[in-house]
């Protein structure tokens, strides 16, 4: 045997052992604030998280329409796959919303993954993988909701609470800024938002007793511009809603794990904030607990809170309000629509966050009553230690984080609905950093659940149509100028409905459930609809009946036949 070792060389990137090209065209160099501001004027692209700052998830593209959508077929499939032991090994899900810039798709996956993909054929152009600690505290699974693109860079957050900038041509890291404390149970899953010369992100960790915040960094360098906490310190506005003799505010929650919408005229970012902590044990945090479970308007330049509306004061049901605030103008009024976990739809005046009207959007609600101006009367809640209490909606909410949409042609809002309850039994526990801090044992109903897609008239709060499903509906919806609403089912079907009538027009079985946000775009005049399929996340929290479903890890692009 030779005594000298064979030279094994130096370890190489795994992508070098694949067909990954390693380079993308420089299309992202031209993306700037002005283009994102006018994103809907270039409907071939999906330039920002919701498609546009208003969060409507509406595209004027109409090549695929209610008259021909039944001919839609898959054009290509991008498979992400898995390798080795990773963070949240069994909780990964594909929750992202793909962005498209001039024929190039930028999309994130779980476990720190990001890809540039040729949007016409699905070929991988480059990949980036941020190494994610196996033991990071994940609030609701190993997920990431998407990227932002501007100034030749792709921005994403990582499970261990960094925001990073990648070179959009090569996928190489340009800068890296940690903005959360993994030892305090913080993580990051939010899709960043570009506003002016800033990239804006928020914190996850709402079940671990953190102090929720949103942060802005300079696009070019990663230098911090501002941080806004959603739980006030003693003496700050809102602090009177927390016990003044305790430590509750320090662990109060109100994380910002969903991308805000933005009104450039008012220069306000609209956040939904997460649950208070501990989720179900209100005895250690008497008061309304601002700014948990709220819609919060934040000055984009300073990070200062300008106005708010609290949907569920002193939450005892885990009713996060992180989900989007859809911005639209109707009858001369600047409105924001919000479908809350608590089962009520709210139409707000977004200039001051006052409530114009509130109305229920799910059949079964018994946790409390909400009047038409949003005033709350709690009725059923975990109170006595060790006593099981059942309530509707459960902590999954009548609508989860997945997004509603608004079509300016029909002037209707479309919402995915989860009609499922849960039983919570209060169990007080002491707080320790990085340990889940629920204050209860919780079991979401298994068999007794249903779901639907509903259309609502924002003028009246009345339901216009409903498409009923056997299971909760847990995917974001997309609406288009082709008079369509599109979204996926937990059982893998990706569907199209008539936006005016709710008639189902088309369906394709993707093989794994949908818990993501589909997008639409066109390349060389051909319209595509892209849907990530990859069931998982905290399914035990919103649809335990489907916990055993195939995870999957595929991105489907659909178009009409040539």
């Amino acid at each position: 045997m030779a005594t000298e070792y064979v030279d094994a060389g130096t370890a190489i990137p795994y992508a070098a052992l694949s067909a990954s090209v390693g380079k993308a065209p420089p299309v992202a160099k031209g993306v700037n604030y002005d283009r994102i501001l006018n994103a809907r004027s270039e409907p071939q692209n999906w330039l920002t998280y919701y498609g546009a700052y208003d969060g409507q998830r509406y595209s004027p593209l109409d090549q695929i329409n209610a008259g021909n959508v039944d001919k839609l077929v898959p054009q290509w499939v991008f498979q992400a796959g898995n390798l080795g032991l990773r963070s949240g090994a069994t909780t990964y899900a594909w929750e992202a919303s793909p962005l498209i810039v001039d024929g190039i798709m930028y999309v994130s996956g779980w476990d720190g993954q990001c890809w540039a993909v040729d949007a016409a054929n699905g070929n991988e152009l480059w990949r980036y993988r941020h190494a994610s600690p196996f033991d990071v505290s994940l609030c609701c699974g190993n997920v990431n909701r998407g990227v932002a693109v501007a100034d030749g860079k792709v921005f994403m957050t990582t499970l261990n609470a960094h925001v990073i900038a990648l070179d959009a041509e090569t996928g190489k890291k340009v800068w890296d800024q940690p903005y959360g404390d993994v030892r305090a149970g913080e993580s990051a899953t939010v899709a960043p938002l570009i506003v002016k010369d800033m990239v804006i992100v928020g914190s996850s960790g709402g079940e671990f007793g953190s102090r929720g915040h949103t942060d802005a960094f300079k696009l070019e360098t990663g230098e911090r511009v501002w941080r806004c906490y959603m739980i006030p310190k003693p003496g700050e506005p809102g602090s009177e809603t927390w016990p003044d003799d305790g430590e509750a505010w320090q662990r109060g929650g109100a994380n910002c794990w969903i991308t805000p919408t933005y009104d450039p005229d008012l220069n306000l970012l609209y956040y939904g904030t997460g649950n208070p902590c501990p989720d179900f044990d209100g005895g250690v945090r008497e008061g309304d607990n601002l700014f948990t479970d709220s819609g919060v308007a934040v000055d984009a330049d300073t990070g200062e809170i300008k106005a708010h509306f609290q949907y569920t004061p002193h939450d005892l049901w885990d009713y996060d309000s992180v989900m989007e605030h859809l911005l639209f103008d109707l009858d001369g009024q600047k409105m924001a629509a919000h479908f809350d976990k608590n089962g009520f739809m709210y139409i707000l005046d977004r200039t001051d966050m006052s409530c114009i009207r509130a109305a229920p959007f799910v059949d079964r609600i018994d946790w409390g009553e909400v009047d038409e101006k949003g005033n709350v009367t709690p009725l059923v809640f975990p109170d006595a230690e060790g006593d099981p209490v059942h309530f509707w909606p459960g902590p999954a909410g009548a609508k989860e984080w997945t997004h509603a949409c608004y079509n300016p042609n029909t002037e209707l809002l479309y919402v995915p609905v989860q009609d499922v309850g849960a039983t919570a039994t209060r169990r007080r526990r002491e707080f320790k950093e990085s340990i889940p801090y629920w204050g209860a044992g919780v079991a979401v109903d298994g068999e007794d659940q249903t779901g639907y897609v509903s259309a609502y008239d924002p003028r009246t709060g009345q339901e216009r149509w409903r498409w009923e499903n056997e299971h909760c509906m847990c995917s974001s919806l997309l609406t288009t100028g082709g008079n369509l609403v599109l979204g996926g089912e937990p059982t893998g079907e990706f569907n199209a409905w008539n936006a005016e009538t709710g008639d189902q027009l088309w369906s394709f079985q993707c093989g794994s459930g949908h818990h993501s946000s589909p997008s639409t775009y066109s390349v060389d005049g051909k319209q595509y609809i892209v849907a990530p399929s990859g069931w998982g996340g905290w399914a035990e929290g919103f649809l335990p009946k489907m916990l055993g479903s195939s995870h999957g890890s595929a991105l489907f692009a659909f178009a009409l036949p040539d």
Partner: protein
């Protein structure tokens, strides 16, 4: 409570188990150079199907240079975590190579050998990165209790 047994039959192939149970092995520490790079040597001893040390502790996030030595009479590899992309090195019998990794701290990372003969039978190691996040990433609140 019965006394804890060392159970050496778990620390070998085809003992109690078919392969070598994952995550067992020695603990070692990387050394930090004056250049701030942390360095360590990891060996694959003959017929043990384990990286040695099986748990490598590095003091904080940053750049880690590994020397990887296969002293075994079989071919293995290492698929290692690193910011940017997973790093791969093929290690034929009696070979030696290097890997440069960039890892954040705190937290720990698994790595392993994905050759067809190895996966599930052993050769899974951990890199444990200690430390705290930088002050600017911490929450503005008084110190909190930890477990």
């Amino acid at each position: 409570m019965p006394p804890v047994k060392p159970m050496p039959e778990l620390d070998k192939q085809n003992g109690i188990t078919l392969g070598r149970i994952l995550g067992r092995g020695n603990v070692g520490e990387a050394e930090e150079g004056s250049d701030g790079v942390m360095r360590a040597t990891i060996r694959i001893p003959e017929d043990e199907l384990v990286y040695d040390p099986g748990v490598l502790i590095v003091p904080h996030g940053g750049v880690i240079e590994l020397e990887l030595i296969n002293d075994d009479k079989n071919t293995h590899c290492a698929v290692l975590p690193s910011n940017g992309d997973t790093q791969f090195i093929w290690l034929v019998n009696h070979s030696k190579g290097t890997a440069t990794l960039e890892l954040d701290g705190p937290g720990y990372y698994w790595y392993g050998s994905t050759t067809g003969n190895d996966e599930g039978r052993g050769l899974t190691g951990a890199i444990v990165v200690g430390g705290e996040v930088p002050p600017e990433a911490k929450l503005d609140r008084p110190p909190q209790p930890r477990p």
